[in-house]
Symmetry: C2
Subunit: 297 residues, 2 copies
Amino acid sequence: MKWSVERRLEFLEFRLFWEGGVNRADLIEMFGVSVPQASKDLTLYQEKAPGNAFYDKSARRYVAGAGFRPVFLDPDPDAWLLRLRSAAEGFADAGANWLAAPPEADIALTPRRKVDTAALRGILAALREGASLEILYQSMSPARPDPVWRRISPHAFGYDGFRWHVRAWCHETGKFKDFLLPRVLDIGGRGAAGASGEQDRLWHDHFDIVITPHPKLSAGQQAVVARDYGMVDGRAALTTRYAMLFYVLKRLGLLEDARSRDPRTQHIVAESDAAVAAALRRANFEFDEAGQTGGGS
Amino acid sequence: MKWSVERRLEFLEFRLFWEGGVNRADLIEMFGVSVPQASKDLTLYQEKAPGNAFYDKSARRYVAGAGFRPVFLDPDPDAWLLRLRSAAEGFADAGANWLAAPPEADIALTPRRKVDTAALRGILAALREGASLEILYQSMSPARPDPVWRRISPHAFGYDGFRWHVRAWCHETGKFKDFLLPRVLDIGGRGAAGASGEQDRLWHDHFDIVITPHPKLSAGQQAVVARDYGMVDGRAALTTRYAMLFYVLKRLGLLEDARSRDPRTQHIVAESDAAVAAALRRANFEFDEAGQTGGGS
DNA sequence: GTCCGTATGTATAAAAACTATATGGGACCT
DNA sequence: AGGTCCCATATAGTTTTTATACATACGGAC
């Protein structure tokens, strides 16, 4: 079956499953096909997925049957929610995400400076070719209030839930560090790599954060939290790269003293604060020019 | 131009722009077209976007020219990063996001219980049709340790950065509240709506959170933070629905006393804590059965 | 009830897209 | 020099898609 036909059938199934129904007109609008072709696609879909689509004469469109069994689509709720998220964040021309009439949705966004297109392209090119690259970087270090040129050898990307950074060998300080993409203002010349990504121990080594429900919650509430986090016997382990540990702890609210915080907003605590503190020391997080960076090796 | 051809040209452009080059083989693998068709597409692309693609005989593939000007694609770095994010989160069969060889990437994830497919479908159907719905909901209220059936009239979705909730009229308490999707365990019968979304004042009214750099940062650091958040004269306003205020403040770290926290991790503070506190009271956030919910009207 | 607008479905011929197959050329490696 | 891998192009045949036309069904306005 042709790629374009398969995409149309997938679209049909998506609309049937999530949006309650589908029309010839939907196909025509989304793919620019002719009326007879849209009819053929609908007929073809019914052949390939019998029992899924029924024509509701009164509503004048096809609706999903009771025993709907997806054939072309992965019926993952998170996939649908991802489409809703990109719609709510204004990505893509509405419609490209296949949502017919997206429900009202809002996202707790925090506005951040845009990533520079040329900067990202340059970093990607250097990363692909295993080269180093000069960047004009705006650090947070009080010692360097203005952007300065520095050479890095990028090898990976990280996302803390708000912003992307690039994980790279810093030629100046001789460490692996995180550089926030929005703070890369310009790029300069390519050069030889300083160190390869395999040498970044903090990136490749992992630590298990063991979490439990906040002890100040009632037994019933603790049970709910345990289910939320998929805990077994009231414990769950989150395996994290040392290079990402700081960000994960921050997201989980475990960076500062979690036990003393209001359990109604802070649902979990670390089983052993000492183990977490030791792991953070191993990650050697300093608060320096990259905002938060992990130096090592 | 046909939809399928346009997608192929868009793909060509994407690979040229972000991934450094493209091949006939890439086209064949991604879309299942024949060898001559892939050649045609490449020729067609060069006609439509002259000067963008050049054949590198030594590398045996097309590479982007120096003065690349996208024709079929929005060259948005965030769009590329979104693809990387969905790849790193394991969405979609690798390749469906058009990344050739995704760089190593990690995301500070927090594992959460999956959303139930039938529950989301049921809520969507009720929302579309303006109906109410019975849900089996696991609340955090100590008074209700076990899941209970309750009737809601959903009208919108919200995302706090971790989890999705549905904003709905609660028939039981006569308030608009947030219900976390992962805690909806089952759905029951449809019914008449309780209140329409237009009556949800906390959803439709907005508040401006005015933020400034953390005063304990040095002047240079404050300038960097100001640029990060797009501040003018050291101030920026974030317009937020009252119904989302709690989540936004939590994400920004402004829920608890921000001024007393380490400015190296907490970069911003609210200009007026009193104004924020008043807005939170207006939002009438209570910590009850939905975890955090806003009741009102 | 009748008319109208808007759906759907299908039949036909014509156009367009695509495939299979074959041929030729250039660059690189052994 | 030969093999390999990639590109481009030509031809004929197949498949997909379009354009056009016509028949049917439902719901609401008159």
